[in-house]
Symmetry: C2
DNA sequence: CAAATATGTGCAACCGGTTGTTCTATATCA
DNA sequence: TGATATAGAACAACCGGTTGCACATATTTG
């Protein structure tokens, strides 16, 4: 049988209240009693029931992490890292993380968790345009935060400086003498795509150049056009393929290899995220590193502080790191 | 303000008990009253508090999903699919899924969730040898199930027939005239590695042949030896590289490409899982498909039934599917 | 038509914590 | 020394559900 405050109180000849206070440290309690109780609970390895505590405190000590239900998730080590960041930081606050699969095809799981009050707050791990998830959260009164700038008034978010990073990447390449680049991007329904695209263009402008709009290819994640797009880019004189993420870069590298095109000899290649998906690639790939783990932790931090009464809204993490490697030599 | 059974009862001139029964459908209740209550709660969009219900029922309606804290996870779309399977099936039982990061470097999160009673059962998504996670679970009295045969008496698991599948893969290749193969495997501390290795050997035996032990390379996930291992294999006359998973296969393909070795002309290649990590590969890769989603769902199913008093132990899903593609032509 | 049974509802205890208030014994002060 | 403050502990209500039991009314049965 499991221990409870009552059983412990009885055992020690104290009241439930006193035991509770000895454990929490709140309220007036003699040092002697406190020690006695704490020694005892350590001995019997007692831990208070989270459920009972939740009922009393009106807090579940759970946050929901909304994760895209579609396959994109599995392709993206980034989400994993983000999740790790969230979970690690959650531990610090004695919180646990509930996984909620949801996207624009269905938010039943989110509805369930929110309306049954199984979570105190929500983190949305990817931001889509006109997202059902966000629309739902806007109307509910649960605190939430979105990963990635939703470009929407009143929606709190945390993001890397995607635009700034992309811009810097381009400038760095230009400084290295590369001026003609093709951009291989992901879904137009994802906001990070737009931020990086803006950065791509800005990078050229900052150097007094202009991006070649005919070499910008979006929605390439599941595209069968990859092969032709790459050939076209090369034919048009692209010196470098800039990929918006490592999954895309992996596909590109594979495609190039298969066509007998060498990196970096025939064409240079770079990516974003610098995940371990490409860590064993030959050649090594130039990539821009974002600290996704930190970002995940930041989400949690903000939510916790807001639950404690603060009202932090959005935050942008400006640090990133360009890892120059063989693929752009 | 949020609604409660009490507030609803007052509003409708009924008792808390009656409202509760009208909602749950348990106990004696007139059709009329039931309808009245249910219409009303639909109108005000009431959902019972999961926490309060948990306290009364002594059930959290949460399962924990233990996921490796190390980066291996992010590399493996398989885990994602598994997780999706778990979450989807959980919905059917009105359960939610708590993510627990843990591995042999630390099980603090698991301890926390279990001893604070935040979960009713645990799914361990990867099975390592001499796992701290499993040792902990064996000593606690929470129901649990492990994905992947732990090869350990008394530990309940769910698994694909990894040995049978690997064996069949080899036999299929042999039938296609390929008899000399190298095996690129993952960590020796992971049990699936051993199951597939056994299947690898068995496949040859079933065809009256013998696996070339000198062409078996394990622990290749983060190995810097990939390049030399592949060259050695080819030099030794290997006609096909059998990879134990898609991550490895991706690395191998990349490595081969980079060395100017063509697939399947110079060497053939195949893999396991058939995840979308390789779905855009050139050439298309022969792979053995396991239904990870189904397996995840199965875990949940078994745990739920055991919570309801059954005592199902282990289960092996025997279905798999070999997708022959260009890489073994 | 009384007795037995069935039906619908409510009371109150319970799940295991937290917390405002009260009570008692001791310490501090004028 | 009596009034007042304070420390330590306990009482009891509360969080929002579930459920065994009692009770009143309606229905069936001999």
């Amino acid at each position: 049988m499991s221990h409870t405050l009552d059983s412990i109180a009885k055992e020690l000849g104290l009241s439930k209240t006193t035991v509770s206070r000895a454990i929490s440290g709140k309220g007036r309690i003699s040092e002697e009693t406190r020690k006695k109780v704490n020694d005892y609970i350590k001995e019997i390895n007692y831990r208070p029931s989270a459920v009972a505590r939740s009922l009393a405190a009106n807090r579940t000590y759970n946050v929901g992490l909304v994760v895209p239900a579609d396959s994109a998730l599995g392709e993206m080590p980034y989400f994993q890292t983000l999740m790790t960041g969230v979970c690690d930081r959650a531990m610090d606050f004695e919180y646990d993380v509930l996984i909620i699969l949801a996207d624009n095809d269905g938010i039943a799981a989110l509805r369930h968790a929110v309306s049954n009050k199984k979570i105190d707050a929500v983190i949305v791990s990817r931001c889509e345009r006109d997202s059902k998830v966000i629309n739902f959260l806007k109307e509910s009164d649960i605190p939430y935060i979105v990963v990635g700038n939703p470009m929407e008034e009143g929606v709190p978010y945390v993001d890397h400086d995607n635009e700034g990073a992309a811009s810097r990447m381009i400038e760095t390449l230009i400084d290295a003498g590369i001026t003609r680049m093709a951009l291989i991007g992901g879904g137009e329904n994802i906001n990070v795509t737009h931020s990086r695209l803006a950065g791509f263009r800005k990078g050229f402008l900052n150097k007094g150049l202009k991006a070649d709009e005919s070499l910008i290819f979006l929605n390439m994640h599941k595209s069968a056009r990859m092969d032709s797009v790459l050939k076209e880019s090369i034919a048009e004189g692209a010196e470098c393929i800039v990929c918006m993420d490592d999954m895309l870069c992996n596909s590109v590298l594979n495609c190039l290899h298969n066509d007998g095109i060498s990196v970096p000899e025939d064409i240079k290649l770079c990516s974003f995220y610098d995940s371990n998906l490409l860590s064993t690639s030959k050649p090594s790939i130039t990539s821009l590193y974002f600290d996704a783990k930190k970002l995940g932790g930041q989400c949690l931090e903000i939510l916790m502080r807001n639950l404690d009464g603060e009202s932090i809204t959005s935050q942008t993490l400006t640090d990133f790191n360009i890892q120059m490697r063989d693929s752009t030599l």
